[in-house]
Symmetry: C2
Subunit: 291 residues, 2 copies
């Protein structure tokens, strides 16, 4: 699994490099700022998921690759803006100083804007087999990262800081903030591979449950993980007084929930038979992760 | 002219309202923040230009309207982020407190992100006559607002603050920062109306020159607008020590340049014969504007 993931990560990183030119332009610093965060060694979970879904369904990699890159750009922009002094005010990310610590606040705001914008430059530049299908995928991408997706979740997260929220609110927050683009990553992989509506729903169900398991596992690692491996201080949710699944239910129940959602994710793929082997392995692999 | 412009502004404002729902959601505040700036009484020059180009070419309004709305969203997001404390640190915009003054810095960052994102939700949600053409227009939109367009211009602007720049640098800055999305507004109007490549080039030439004339006129108004009201030339560009066409060449040469670029814009439309009447009037109208 680790080798396969690395292979996919390399494909995505190589492709991403193509979109960040080495231009000799007066505004070259924006490309430096963008590259700094885009190539900071992220897990690239979302685009990898998209490629693996496409592989399962026999999709053409070239059809899905622009969307895989766009998804990583959107994920990265959200981290840059999240880290800003006016937001979470984080100094470190993935073991390195955050974007605004290196390039200043103004440039970090623009670097985030640039990455969000470039996601749509990227998905609109390709000559697709089916332009209508690509438009649908662009819509899924943008809705999942917008006010009824990731941004909506960020707003709820911001407004619920320093107060305890209930499980329903927490699940809603996470469904939007982190869940929406994990789901859309899989769904776009399916759509761009020409999957039928039933297959798309099954992939969506897999990603929905995988996303919840992934988030609870993150909360667990935030408590028990160590600084070296995570690249960010552990216990930061606790320090920021954020409600998490662990703070509401304790470590044992959280671990049981990760198992349960992972099982649900895996069984959603049963309709694909043995073709789903890799994605099922991915779900189990993510439970075992240390970062 | 004024009546026609108001009619187009009303069409756009009404359409924009559809995209900002009155949802009863936990994250409703993001919609408030977005609406505050989107309905702050802007001139809506870019989307109006797009609709007028489409009218000249006999385009279907429904094909171009999503792009007109998206363009206004992108223009508005850029103003919200430009006004932030880390950027221009402006307290007032269009006679009202800026977005971050009302909603706080974190929400203003998210409101900008939300508008940029919503632009692409908007253009990808429509069932177009020709999906390939729509993808091309999405690419023109995103490139013109990205690092080789508006954002690139913002970076140069930021990096050239408090130092004098030459005419070439100034023209490059403005071509990117304000020119790129004025050009793309016209070009998208042409593309979505099924114009041929020669017609698209003519519209582009018109918008290119119109954009330069508009910007120099802005610089002039920044100086003489204040003369009338305050009795002394204390324009904000002057205070911020920004180089402008006026600071480099003086008022008389700047006025002559506005005339010259307007003439160039108008003659670019000659291939359209009498169909170009309204767009030619628009160019002359913009010279006469006081705001």
């Amino acid at each position: 699994m680790r080798e396969l993931l690395q292979e996919k990560i390399d494909i995505i990183s190589k492709e991403l490099k193509k979109y960040i030119p080495d231009f000799d332009v007066p505004h070259a610093r924006i490309y430096e700022a963008v590259s700094y965060s885009l190539f900071a060694g992220g897990k690239r979970l979302r685009p990898v998921l998209m490629l693996l879904v496409s592989d399962m369904l026999g999709g053409e990699q070239s059809e899905v690759l622009p969307f895989a890159c766009a998804m990583e750009m959107i994920h990265t922009y959200s981290l840059i803006h999240d880290d800003l002094p006016a937001m979470d005010n984080d100094d470190m990310r993935r073991g390195k100083p955050t974007n605004h610590k290196v390039f200043g606040e103004a440039m970090a705001i623009l670097a985030g804007d640039a990455l969000l914008n470039k996601a749509f430059e990227t998905v609109s530049a390709h000559n697709y087999m089916d332009a209508k299908r690509a438009l649908r995928a662009i819509n899924i991408l943008s809705v999942s990262s917008g006010t009824e997706g990731m941004i909506g979740g960020q707003v709820i997260d911001m407004e619920s800081e320093n107060k305890t929220i209930g499980l329903d609110e927490l699940l809603n927050l996470q469904a939007l903030k982190t869940g929406a683009i994990i789901r859309s990553s899989g769904v776009i992989g399916a759509v761009m591979s020409g999957a039928d509506e039933g297959e798309i729903r099954a992939v969506d169900e897999y990603c929905l449950n995988l996303g919840i398991a992934f988030q609870i596992q993150d909360d667990i690692l935030d408590v028990i993980g160590d600084v070296k491996e995570l690249g960010k201080p552990t216990g930061s949710d606790f320090e920021n007084q954020k409600s998490t699944f662990v703070s509401l239910y304790g470590l044992d129940k959280a671990k049981a929930a990760v198992e349960e959602y992972t099982k649900k994710a895996i069984s959603a793929l049963d309709i694909f038979g043995s073709d789903a082997k890799t994605l099922k392995e991915l779900a189990n692999y993510l439970i075992g992760r240390k970062l």
